[in-house]
Each structure stands twice: as C-alpha cells, then as structure tokens.
Amino acid sequence: MSEKSQSFVDQLLEKTREGKISWTTAFEDGQFKTVLPGGQLAFVVQVKGDARRILMLDERQEAVLDETITKAETEGEPEHHPKIKLYAGIGELQDLARSQALQVNVKLVQAEQLLNLI
C-alpha cells in the first residue's frame, strides 16, 4: 500500500503546485482536505504530532486508502527506504495544503504592507 500512497502523494504534490487542486481546512488541527472534481473522491492529509497520514475517501466516505506513518517507524531505516520517502512526502504535501488553505503567502504580504504603513 505504501507504493500506491507514494504515487498519490506525488500526484497531489504536482497538481497542488500547478494550482489544479484546492485544499481547505478540515476539523482536526493539521488536517486538510480536497474533494476532486465530480465529488467522487476526496483526499485528507494530516500531520499530528510525529504522525503523518494520507486518507482517500470514496463518494460514500469509505476509506479506500488510509496510511499513517510515525517518525518512530522511519528511524533506523536506510536513507532511501519507501517509508522515509512517504513520511517526507506527506509532510511536504501537508505544508503545501496548509499554505494554500490558509492563504499563508497572501496574508504574509498583507501583514508586511500593514506593518509598513505603521
């Protein structure tokens, strides 16, 4: 399942960078969601403590894919181990999703402009 998860994480990273996917905040802290066009599939990405999770839901909100990796699971593994790559990928995706959902860049620019006015 890690291989499939990695493939989805890579695709989501790519589409998010291209601006083709938009993320919104979900209920839990560090949790973001995106519903694909047509509403048949949704992805949820979450970083909670040292655990990172990718979840794929179908139109009935059944978890088709649910993968959680903790920091402890990656420790002691060789550098190119799939779990390490997936752990890093989910972290990167969550960071990107957070930036987009909270419009971090726009707000940082606004903050700078406001501070300059003072």
């Binding site: 969601k33 519903v35 949704a42 949820v44 139109e59 909100q61």
Partner: protein
Amino acid sequence: MILIENPIPRDWFDWSNASVGIVGLALTLWAVWQAKGAKDAAQLAGTRIRQHNAEVDFSALARIARELHGYVEDDRMSEARLRTTDLRSELATAMRNHAQFVAHEAGRLQEKQIDLKLITEGLNGGPGSLSSTERIRLLRITGEILEALAGLSGQFRSQADKEVSNV
C-alpha cells in the same frame, strides 16, 4: 370515404356523413389533447410531490444540523457525536432519494459529508481531546452545514410557493 371518392357533397346525406366524420375527428383530437394534458398534469403533480418530499426531508436535516450546532455551542460533545452520525446517514439517504433536485449542490453536499465523517472520527477520540482551535473550527463547520441544509430546504419551499402562485 365518401369525401375521397366524391369530394363534393351533393345532398343532405353526404353533408351529414361529412359532418359526422369532421365531428369524430374533432372529438378524437380533443380526447388526445385532453389525454396529453392529463399526462402532463400527472407528471407535474408527481414532480411537485417529489419536490415537497425533498423539502420535508431537508427541513428535517436542517433541524438535526441545528441540534448538532447547539450541542457544539453548549460543549455537549457526546450528544454532538451522536447527532453527527445521524446527520451523516440521513444526509446520504436524502442525497440519494432527491438526487435530481440536489444535483446543482452535489459537490457542496459531498464536501459536507466529508466534514461530518472527519468530525465523527475526531470526536471518537473523546471530548477531552479537542483543542481550542478544533472547538472553534467545529462550530464553524457545523454552522456551515446548518446554513447549507437550511438554504436547500428554503429553496425547495420557495420553488413550491412560486409554482403555486403561477397556477
């Protein structure tokens, strides 16, 4: 037949035959028109009944959503969790039963369903495990769900009212 073989009626017998034929044709056309009208009326009535059912179901959903929002406001998370589960299953049924009326809102409702799924999961950790930002987010999300469902119910009601005033 008389008209075809001998197109010009000559006596009262020809005239009466022709008249009977014309009246018969008119009656047939009138009956067909009436039947079509009846079919249209039956279809319209069927649509109105389905629309009314959708309004009733979405009003009930809005009521559940209002309760859920109230429980979150009052910090009654155990009750909120139960109401979230109810709302999820009821909304899924309503979306399936009234697909033709909610097609334009399907994406939005699907997103609300995902919110409800994630809330159920999040609340399963126990009410004590919620952070202050999660509580605030929960209030916002349940408020948005209530708004969406009440809005749909209102849409159905105003559509029905408009159709009644057009009759």
